[in-house]
Assembly symmetry: C2
Homo-oligomer: 233 residues x 2
DNA sequence: AGTTTTCAGATCGTACATTATTTGTCAATG
DNA sequence: CATTGACAAATAATGTACGATCTGAAAACT
């Protein structure tokens, strides 16, 4: 019946109900879309999803509406919901926005940074270098902590929220692929360079570095996506 | 019962049901929030809203979820929805984002603009000058057409969508207040300056002008909001 | 072959049940 | 006598079930 290859199948559990895994319906749906487990433009039928999630239709409908508000699904009246394609263009688009926003956030951070924060940043950076990409998962967490520390105290909550949303999406996508060695060394270099600029109170320099950082990260993800698409269409 | 002063009251109509006015529940709610007809942080009870809208609770719930996705309401589990305050800070936040995004969009537009488009822009500008702020409504529409023409062909749909959303919010807010004379002349000047830069193929200049344009617009709205807040708290 | 009809499938709206939170009362205690 | 704590009732959010309405496409008909 369903065109979706059974993901989150309720039948995977021991007996019947229980164990929603703690993840909300919204999150499961969102992850399926971001991770590309549902095909682009695929139709999302509430009854189907309700079965798969082990609930009734109402929670699914509300989750879909929320996802529509965030732009992950496209809904047309009386015609249901379709998943917005998360393709290279999409990544390029949000990266381009980040290239504009993150330098601004960084610039402000340089102006208000304290010694304690610099120390903490250096400590995180040391952990990252010590780990040396041995575990993608913990590396991502450390990287997130690094940037989050810089942006968290910013007054523009709207911009920071936007950054967080974009960041989550990009992170989810990049989880599909391994990070190339050259990109790894670039990341380390850029972080070090950024720290130097912050310590030297060079706001423009820090903004430039972050700009390059984001652009490089985006370019890397897009290349990997293109590669994956051409090897396994 | 409700703390919301009856807006969209169903009893305002001739007899009983009919006439939802064409506006969806989502739009009505969204407008009430943006226009400040519901107080900041006000609690939104689904049963209340359902009564007011003349429908049952389910459509209201879905509208709220969509609004949450867009960031207009804040929902906490088992505790319902509250309206996000649309205050001066909020306006400042989205304006700051626009100050970053719009110059980038404009810069690209200068690179691909055709003679026909320049002509159309000049025609719109002529209409704007001819109208000279006699009617706020049609002025807003013309201004929207002016900027929309510049951004509509841009490849980064995500950025343009973001701009449109922000633009609608700002437009709805500024509708509450009259435009000051000094701001009016600034708007005309900036548009003229922008056209000159575009015709001269001066991308950097155009970006600078748009930056000033957005910043000035934001500053104007914020000042008006502050004023209104202090005169009628 | 092209148009109309019919019908299954899916969305949308309403009503109801369940569960969690808030509120209000009253007794026990310092 | 005031304050606090526990318990009960009300209030509101969350979830389930079902009927109404719309869409899309196959089947019947001219």
């Amino acid at each position: 019946m369903s065109t979706i290859t059974s993901i989150h199948d309720a039948s995977s559990e021991g007996d019947d109900s229980m164990e929603d895994g703690g993840a909300s319906i919204y999150e499961r749906l969102r992850d399926d879309i971001i991770h590309g487990r549902v095909k682009a433009n695929e139709r999302l039928k509430v009854a189907d999803l309700a079965n798969r999630m082990g609930t009734s239709t109402n929670p699914v409908r509300e989750a879909l509406q929320q996802l529509r508000g965030e732009g992950f699904v496209i809904m047309t009246p009386n015609r249901g919901a379709r998943v917005r394609p998360i393709d290279e263009d999409f990544v390029r688009d949000i990266c381009e926005i980040e290239v504009l926003i993150e330098p601004a956030l960084t610039r402000w951070f340089v102006g208000i940074v304290t010694n304690e924060e610099i120390e903490e940043l250096e400590q995180i950076q040391a952990e990252i270098e010590g780990l040396n990409f041995a575990d993608e998962m913990t590396h991502s967490n450390l990287d997130l902590r690094f940037h989050k520390l810089m942006y968290d105290r910013h007054y523009n909550r709207h911009a920071v929220d936007l950054w967080m949303r974009h960041r989550h999406i990009l992170w989810a996508i990049s989880r599909r692929f391994p990070t190339s060695l050259s990109r790894q060394s670039n990341v380390l270099d850029e972080h070090r360079e950024l720290l130097d600029c912050i310590k030297a109170q060079d706001a423009d320099g820090a903004a430039r570095v972050i700009g390059r950082h984001v652009e490089g990260s985006g370019r890397h993800i897009i290349e990997r996506m293109r590669l994956a698409r051409h090897t396994a269409p």
